[in-house]
Every structure is written in structure tokens, then in C-alpha cells.
């Protein structure tokens, strides 16, 4: 085990995967010479050379499109979207192309492509850099959506993402890059997709979250403990595939749940979590599942960002209300 920030874990994992498999190559804006605007790819150009760490022109669609072609040529591209918000420029290459290529070609062209994309609030970015857009990608059958919350999972899920043969959108929380630090297993430790992680045990209510919101949920659970409310925290890790059984078990154990995320309320992935619980745990549910998430407004400017994002207080309040519900 080594203590690492998420950024360090991602950088080290990219390095190790590139060393392990010479078909792996990185492409994106500013990933080579600069080592990425957040230094996620720092040192990799020097180590692996310009054929494997490639600065691309400023054009997201051709970054994803080229990754599709590279995969068809037998390579394993890991492409960076400088920010998830700018993956919109490549949206037509993702759901309709990348995610469907295996299906369209009836298996001839599997797409072992990883799209890494930082996102998420709390760091006062300029406009369009922080949006939590995960729910816009889950309706692209064939695409897996991965959202690590810890440095250990950043490594384990990125190993899996690079090694398995289907496309992955790998969302990295900006807030976690340097602030999240935890013990990362050394060597091979791939984390299978579709296995949620119990981040904290608890009996009274289950708080379900992913990415940076997991840490909000944990802090809320700490706060709830002071009120003698025992809150479990479930970190989904991957939205597609979804660990339905893990969710249902966790909710069955407490009978009450709260979902927390950074995307706007209406149509956020929280709705899918609520619906999944409603489908599978209807009869064990004792109160409606609360959703703590931003309102249906555009991601705001820095000075009012804290009002928008789910706060520890709001999660605590929602959990408390859920527990107190008849």
C-alpha cells in the first residue's frame, strides 16, 4: 500500500499500464509536453516517447474519432477530454460511434478505448468546466461510465478500464485530484466494474453516492453519528454497469436511503437509483428515497457554487428527515 492522491494514482496507473502493454497510448490536448493541465500525464512523454503520448489539435471530436480508428487498428487508446464539459463537442463520436462500433460491426471491431475526463465542482473553475454530465452518457448502450471516488479506486478502476475490451468514460473529480488521498494497493489490483463499495457501514439509513459526492456523504455520516443516526455510505463506483444487487442489499439493510450527486435534479442519475430501489426494494422501503443534488439550474459561477452543490448540511438534513419519516 502507498499513500497517494488521486492524481498520483492516475499518473502511476497510466505509467504502469503503458509499461505492461505497448499497445496502450495516450492522446489529448496538452497531455504530452505539458503533462496535462493537471499533470495527470506528467513524465509519460519522457518515458514512452512521442508515438505513445500525443498532443492533439484542439478538437474533441477528432480525438475520440481517432481513438476509434486507433482501436480498430489494434491499439488501446486512452484519450483525455481536457474537461468533461468539452466532451459535448465529441458527443456524436461517443454514443453513436464509439459505443456502437462493436455492435455495428457485429463483433469485428471491439473498442478498448478509455476516455478520461475531469469534472465536478468545488474548485471555482471558469464556466463549463465543472458540470456533472454523467447522466447524459448512461443512455449510450455499449458505453461504460466509471466514477471513482478514491485514489485506490482511481487505480483499480483505471486498470480495469484499460484492460477490458469495451469503451469506458472515466470521470475524474477535479476536487479529488489533490485533496483526496488514501492507501493505494501496490501492483495489480483491478477493481471489477459493477461492484459498489461500502464506504461506511450503518444501520439507519443508506447514503448512495459516487465520485466526489462520496466524501460529502461520509462527512455527513460522521455528522449524523453525532446525532446517533447510523448512516451507511455506498459508493457506486460505476454507473454503467450498475451494481443493482449491491444497492438493493444496502437499502434492504436500512430500509431508508438518500442519493447524493452533483448533477441537476431532473433526470440526474439519482433518479435511476431511486427507480432501481423502487423496482427492487419496494416492500422493504420505509420512507421515500431522498435526492440531494443541485437544482435545475445551470452550473453557476464560483461565488454561488456552494449553494448549488450538495453540502454536508443538506445531506444530513435529508438523512435525518428520511430516518424520522413515519
Amino acid at each position: 500500500m502507498t499513500s497517494m492522491t488521486m492524481l498520483e494514482a492516475i499518473n502511476a496507473t497510466l505509467r504502469d499500464e503503458m509499461a505492461r502493454d505497448d499497445r496502450v497510448l495516450l492522446l489529448g490536448q496538452d497531455v504530452a509536453q505539458l503533462g496535462g493541465v493537471f499533470r495527470a500525464t506528467e513524465g509519460l512523454l519522457e518515458r514512452f516517447g512521442p508515438d505513445r503520448v500525443v498532443d492533439m489539435p484542439l478538437a474533441e471530436a477528432v480525438i475520440v474519432g481517432a481513438a476509434i480508428g486507433l482501436a480498430a487498428a489494434g491499439l488501446v487508446p486512452v484519450a483525455e477530454m481536457q474537461f468533461l464539459g468539452f466532451s459535448h463537442q465529441a458527443f456524436h463520436q461517443i454514443g453513436a460511434q464509439l459505443a456502437r462500433m462493436r455492435y455495428r460491426s457485429q463483433g469485428r471491431f471491439p473498442m478498448p478505448v478509455v476516455l478520461r475526463a475531469p469534472f465536478g465542482g468545488g474548485v471555482r473553475t471558469p464556466e463549463l468546466h465543472s458540470e456533472a454530465l454523467e447522466a447524459q452518457f448512461v443512455q449510450s448502450p455499449g458505453l461504460q461510465v466509471v466514477m471513482p471516488a478514491t485514489a485506490a479506486d482511481a487505480k483499480g478502476l483505471l486498470q480495469t478500464a484499460i484492460r477490458q475490451p469495451d469503451p469506458v468514460l472515466f470521470c475524474e473529480p477535479l476536487r479529488g485530484y489533490r485533496l483526496v488521498r488514501d492507501e493505494v494497493p501496490d501492483g495489480d489490483a483491478p477493481v471489477p466494474f459493477g461492484t459498489a463499495r461500502v464506504a461506511r457501514e450503518g444501520d439507519d439509513v443508506t447514503i448512495i453516492a459516487w465520485s466526489a459526492a462520496v466524501h460529502v456523504a461520509r462527512r455527513a455520516a460522521d455528522r449524523l453519528a453525532e446525532e446517533n443516526i447510523s448512516a451507511a455510505v455506498l459508493d457506486l463506483r460505476t454507473l454503467v454497469p450498475l451494481d443493482e444487487a449491491g444497492i438493493l442489499d444496502a437499502v434492504a439493510a436500512t430500509g431508508r436511503a438518500v442519493v447524493v450527486h452533483e448533477a441537476p435534479f431532473t433526470g440526474g442519475f439519482g433518479a435511476e437509483v431511486v427507480a432501481t430501489i423502487s423496482d427492487g426494494a419496494f416492500y422493504s422501503l420505509e420512507a421515500p428515497v431522498a435526492r440531494v443534488c443541485p437544482p435545475d439550474t445551470p452550473y453557476p459561477a464560483g461565488k454561488i457554487e456552494d449553494y448549488y452543490l450538495p453540502s454536508v448540511e443538506r445531506v444530513v438534513a435529508a438523512a435525518r428527515a428520511t430516518v424520522k419519516a413515519p
Binding site: L25, P57, I68, G74, Q93, V240, P241
Partner: protein, 363 residues
């Protein structure tokens, strides 16, 4: 203040198309054909097959036995001439959707192509060793993929060239720009074959872009651009072959604008009489690419009525056989929804699959 006026003017985008054959098939003095007679005969037979298939597809579609299909009619020289400049099994072809004969030459079974247009997902299967990406419905989306493929093959150490097709309409998409620009930066071994057939459904080329030619875009990406008479098999072949040679040698991409015409409907659902001016249509009909090749070969004693009749028979037999095969193939069932979606189905997908198979019949 002329010392400050623009260095680049709209008229710099104009060019006269390169050509080899005069409309009656006579070679221009001094040009050496880049295909020998056997090759030209093979090309003509492929063009004839394409023309015959267009007709068959329309008639099947009218009988409800075929889906929406876009004929090649008028563009056979453009498609076949370019396809003959790359090597099946080694080079790659990345199609738009109107390039049937190029796909056949590269090894796609006619049956697969037909299945696709009959709504059978299994038509998408591309046999191993057949170097094609699937046909593309999302216009221009194939171009970034083609550049990545060319780049990737070079990284993998082979000298394959990628020939990618795109329409005049699709060339207005952002993907066209992003792909050309990246190809220039990487000097990727790719040939962009822009088939300017005058139309994007009902939108004429003049309304698609104010550029004098679309080939003129190439210097803006740092590589050569060439305008060629797209109804001239030998000219298209020669120009593309030269581009392929450059690409293979590591000298980067070329944009080839093949000036041709869609002689007929956009597809089986379209009524071109609503928008195509009659005289333009007649003028282009007279410039039929098949006649030109026939004229060329006849003058060289390599084609005659008898050969034409035999070719037509062989072609009809091949098409009819394909129709029989695909029409006698049992339709795919509900499980096909889940085939090839991913290497492994998720728990949820497995449950969905089971539920679906347990469902009552659909009406």
C-alpha cells in the same frame, strides 16, 4: 491600399478537373493509362454490377423486399476508379454509404450489404481480413476514424493506406475539418475521396459551400488537393494512385475532389423531380461514366457486345443468387438485440434479455 489586401482570394480556389479520357473514351494525347486493359475490364464489370444492383434494389424496394437504399448511378467511375487504387487485404477502405462497388472489391459479401439494407443486424459483420470499417450513417463521422486507423496502422508498423469516402454534403460537417487537420499534422497515410455529386439530398453543391472547389481546402490543412473528373475512371484511378503512393511513402494525406453527379434519386424514398433541374440531369446523363469506359475499351479491342451480354448475365446471376441467399436466411430473433453489444452483458442486461425472451409475442 492594395499593399494590404488579402493574399488569398476566392478565385484561388478554382481549378480545371484533371482528366484522362475525352467523353467518348478517347485518351487525351500524351497520357499513359495507369490501368492495363484487363484491369479496366474488371473495373467496367464492377461498374456494370453496381448499375445493375441499383436497379434491382429499386425494384425490390418497391416490392417491400428491400429498405431505403442510395444508388451509385452516375458515380461508378468515381467509386470504382478510386477503389482500384488500393490493395484489398492490405489497405483499408472507410466508406460513407454510397460506395457499394468499393466494398465488394475489398471483399465484402454482397449478401452482407443486402442484409444491412434489409434491416438485418448480421449484415454488419465484416469478415476477418476484409479491411473495411462499416458503412456510415452519421455523415462525416467516418473521417476522424479513418485518420485514427491510418495513424494506428502506421504505429503498428505496416504501410497500409486508408481510402476514406465523403460526400460534398458531409464535407460541411465539423468532422471533415477536424479529420483533415489532424491528418495533416500527423502526415497520416490517408486519402480523402470527396465525391462531389452535386447534391446532398435536395441541397445543391452551390448552396453547400461558396468555395470554387472543395479540393481547394487542402492547403488549409497543409497537404495537396486535386480536382478530378469523377466520371473518368482512368483519371480518378491515376490521381488516387498517386495519392496512395505519396501516403505509403510517408508523405501524408491528399484531398481528392471527384467531380461527378448523382444521376437519379438520393435514395429509394426521394423524389428528385422536386428539385433537380432537368437540363443538368440530361447533361450529366450524357457524360455517363460507363459509356466512356466502354468507348475506351472498344477502341482498344477489349470490349464488345458479346462481352457486354456475358457480363450482364454473370452479374444478374450473382445478384439473383445473393437475393436468394438473403431471402432464405431465417430472420434474426429477439436475442440478436444483445449480440455484440459488449464482450460481456451486465447483470441488468442479462435480466433484460431473460425478461424479453419470456415476454408474450409482439404484434
Amino acid at each position: 491600399m492594395t499593399a494590404l489586401s488579402p493574399q488569398f482570394l476566392p478565385e484561388h480556389g478554382a481549378a480545371v478537373p484533371r482528366s484522362v479520357l475525352l467523353p467518348d473514351g478517347t485518351p487525351r494525347p500524351g497520357v499513359v493509362p495507369s490501368l492495363d486493359d484487363d484491369q479496366v475490364v474488371a473495373a467496367l464489370e464492377l461498374m456494370l454490377l453496381s448499375r445493375a444492383f441499383d436497379e434491382k434494389a429499386f425494384s425490390l424496394q418497391r416490392q417491400g423486399r428491400f429498405g431505403t437504399f442510395s444508388p451509385v448511378h452516375g458515380q461508378e467511375a468515381s467509386v470504382v476508379g478510386s477503389a482500384f487504387a488500393v490493395e484489398p487485404g492490405h489497405d483499408w477502405i472507410v466508406p460513407q454509404y454510397r460506395e457499394l462497388p468499393a466494398l465488394l472489391r475489398h471483399g465484402l459479401p454482397l449478401e452482407s450489404f443486402m442484409q444491412t439494407f434489409m434491416g438485418d443486424p448480421r449484415g454488419g459483420a465484416i469478415p476477418p481480413g476484409v479491411n473495411l470499417l462499416p458503412i456510415q450513417i452519421g455523415l462525416a463521422a467516418q473521417l476522424p476514424q479513418a485518420v485514427g486507423l491510418a495513424w494506428g496502422r502506421r504505429l503498428r508498423g505496416d504501410d497500409a493506406v486508408v481510402l476514406v469516402y465523403v460526400g460534398d454534403g458531409a464535407s460541411s460537417e465539423g468532422d471533415f475539418h477536424e479529420a483533415c487537420n489532424l491528418a495533416g499534422v500527423l502526415r497520416a497515410p490517408v486519402v480523402f475521396l470527396l465525391q462531389n455529386n452535386g447534391w446532398a439530398i435536395s441541397t445543391p453543391r452551390s448552396r453547400q459551400s461558396a468555395a470554387a472547389t472543395l479540393a481547394a481546402r487542402a492547403p488549409g490543412y497543409g497537404f495537396p488537393g486535386v480536382l478530378v473528373d469523377g466520371n473518368d475512371l482512368l483519371a480518378v484511378h491515376a490521381v488516387v494512385a498517386e495519392a496512395v503512393t505519396r501516403a505509403r511513402a510517408g508523405d501524408g494525406p491528399t484531398l481528392v475532389e471527384s467531380l461527378t453527379y448523382r444521376v437519379g434519386a438520393h435514395n429509394t424514398a426521394d423524389d428528385p423531380s422536386r428539385y433537380v433541374p432537368g437540363d443538368a440531369l440530361r447533361e450529366w446523363q450524357e457524360r455517363d461514366p460507363l459509356s466512356r469506359v466502354r468507348g475506351y475499351l472498344r477502341a482498344r479491342g477489349s470490349w464488345d457486345d458479346e462481352r457486354e451480354i456475358h457480363a450482364a448475365e454473370r452479374i444478374r446471376a450473382r445478384i439473383d443468387a445473393a437475393v436468394r441467399v438473403v431471402e432464405s436466411t431465417p430472420p434474426p430473433g429477439a436475442p440478436a438485440l444483445f449480440d455484440h453489444v459488449s464482450a460481456q452483458l451486465s447483470d441488468r442486461q442479462r435480466r433484460q434479455r431473460a425478461d424479453l425472451l419470456a415476454q408474450p409475442e409482439t404484434t
